[in-house]
């Protein structure tokens, strides 16, 4: 399979998946409602009780919410693939002389592009309730890009799960069951230092914590280098492990 055809297949597949989002904008709207609810919940209900020295909670919160949004969004990759499996689409694609990896790459790419819109929406909502980037435009763009590629990496985990469970409902549950604790046991909503020691040990090294810290630093100021490197290391590790895993599940999917 030449590179030219692989790329052409990936674009054909991502087009196909993006058309779904264009035809069903409510998919994006509804998948954004949950993060907006979290945003409002933490901004107005819990936020008053959370005091973080030197920073407004809204400013602290929005970078976290952006990461949460892309992670939740990326879980849809698994649901979409399970749906394709259930409806015989994967059989059709596997019987075509197309690139073996394009079905997965096209899907993760499309979900990444969808995440761009959701991130922009979250930034707009954030600005409406008082959030501001405070570290220059370049760093702000860098923060959003990091969130995007983190979401792309998590899409490959979701793809592996979706191809393993082969059922949309199960993929939905199997996606959230491990993401939820990962999201909460991190610096996403509150500083890790307020957690019990045993949880801190986990939260400090979590890919969510290091990524949120990097996104937050690029948005608001503070040390960028270390959390950014750790986050990129996590992203690279996830891609190195889960791309081959997902492709091999795809080849063997029945």
């Amino acid at each position: 399979m030449s590179l030219k055809w692989t790329i052409s297949d990936i674009f054909a597949m991502s087009d196909r998946n993006l058309i779904r989002y264009l035809r069903l904008p409510q998919l994006i709207v509804f998948s954004s409602i949950q993060p907006v609810m979290f945003l409002l919940l933490f901004a107005y209900v819990f936020g008053g009780a959370i005091k973080i020295p030197g920073v407004d909670y809204i400013d602290y919160l929005i970078p976290g919410i952006i990461v949460q949004t892309v992670i939740f969004g990326s879980m849809q990759t698994g649901v979409g693939l399970a749906d394709d499996l259930m409806h015989g689409m994967i059989d059709r694609f596997r019987s075509l002389p197309m690139s073996r990896s394009a079905v997965l790459a096209g899907r993760t790419l499309a979900d990444g592009i969808r995440n761009i819109f959701v991130i922009i929406l979250m930034v707009i909502v954030g600005y409406l309730i008082g959030f501001q980037f405070q570290n220059g435009l370049g760093n702000a763009v860098g923060a959003l890009l990091l969130a995007l590629i983190l979401g792309f990496a998590f899409s490959w985990i979701a793809a592996t799960i979706g191809l393993m469970v082969k059922n949309t409902e199960t993929a939905q549950v199997a996606g959230f069951i491990w993401v939820f604790p990962l999201i909460f046991a991190s610096s996403l909503f509150v500083p890790v230092e307020t957690m019990p020691n045993w949880l801190q040990a986990f939260a400090h090294v979590s890919p969510i914590t290091v990524s949120v810290n990097a996104v937050r630093a690029m948005s608001l100021g503070g040390e960028i280098g270390e959390p950014l490197l750790k986050s990129l290391a996590w992203i690279a590790a996830i891609l190195v492990v889960f791309i081959p895993l997902a492709v091999s599940r795809y080849r063997r999917s029945v």
Binding site: I19, H87, D91, R92, P97, V254
Partner: protein, 317 residues
């Protein structure tokens, strides 16, 4: 060269044997029907022949290409319409076909043109720019079949193509499948419906427990395993038993009275002489006949003889 050649093919799912040392040869240019109940191994065979599954042992070749070693080359020469209508319901009919064309690596314009040809051929032009989710079951099947034909495959695999269709859509689809073969495509079709195999297939293999248990043309199978049946309906229901007694000994086995519709059935070999004798004897016994007909054996009779079961769909009830 035969279109499909299968030698001593075996497929295990973990410990379950889905295909059990199967041999099969399908000549080019015909509709070949693979008939068998659920779980007989039909879909597994189709999945192996379309490169979706690797065989555990044995050999399978399509158009002379090995399904495992030459999979990629083979994929551009075959088409598959599986058990589900595999169409993206958010894409329009046209977009579905153009997508498949692109994935077959047709140049963009060719993919577009081919989509239009197929939409016309399958009577979907009016619905071409509507999302497929607005299509009826029959339209989806037609679109699915159209998608499997985008690259003008030499061999087409249809796995239970009319499952879930109403009778009219089924007959429409049959007509379209026959047209394909008239243009030189070889079709391998699996079905649980005897009528479908009978209507469409030039040759039939009966498959059960992962093995081919017999094959031949529909007529060969029928005359090999079935006998003609004389069916009688008489005016006075009280005389049914008397009628059966009157004609006893004329057939190759004893006449039976159907407990449900009251028809008297007599298995026979040969015909006109027996027919005359049956009418003469009933007349002599003073039994008035409402209707009489001689029917050829159906594939159901064949299936019953070979597997000890009725037509599979009846079996599923």
């Amino acid at each position: 060269m035969p279109a499909i050649e299968v030698k001593n093919l075996t497929k295990y799912y973990k410990t379950v044997k889905a295909i059990d040392g199967m041999d099969l040869e399908v000549p080019a240019g015909i509709i070949f029907g693979l008939l068998g109940p659920n779980g007989a191994g039909k879909t597994t065979l189709v999945r192996i022949l379309t490169t979706l599954l690797k065989p555990t042992a044995g050999e399978a070749k399509v158009l002379g290409l090995d399904v495992a070693a030459d999979a990629q080359a083979l994929r551009s020469m075959i088409g598959l319409a599986g058990q589900y209508a595999a169409v993206d319901e958010h894409l329009t009919g046209r977009e579905n076909l153009e997508l498949v064309g692109k994935l077959y690596h047709l140049p963009n314009n060719d993919a577009k043109q081919r989509a239009v040809e197929l939409l016309e051929q399958f009577d979907l032009m009016d619905a071409a720019d509507r999302p497929a989710k607005t299509y009826s079951g029959g339209m989806r099947r037609r679109l699915d079949l159209a998608a499997s034909l985008v690259a003008k495959p030499k061999v087409l695999f249809l796995d239970e193509p009319t499952t879930g269709l109403d009778p009219k859509s089924r007959i429409d689809l049959w007509k379209m499948i026959r047209q394909l073969v008239s243009k030189g495509t070889t079709v391998l079709l699996t079905t649980q419906h005897l009528e479908e195999a009978d209507q469409l297939a030039n040759q039939i293999a009966i498959i059960n427990h992962g093995k081919i248990i017999d094959q031949g043309t529909p007529n060969e199978l029928k005359s090999k395993f079935g006998t003609d049946i004389l069916e009688l309906d008489i005016v006075n229901p009280d005389q049914r038993q008397a009628a059966a007694t009157a004609i006893a000994g004329l057939g190759i086995s004893e006449p039976q009275v159907d407990p449900i519709n009251g028809y008297i059935r007599l298995p026979i070999r040969g015909s006109t002489a027996i027919l005359t004798e049956v009418i003469r004897r009933l007349d002599l016994a003073g039994i008035e006949v409402k209707d009489i007909l001689q029917r050829r054996p159906t594939l159901d009779d064949v299936f019953l003889k070979l597997t000890g079961k009725h037509e599979p769909e009846v079996d599923n009830l």
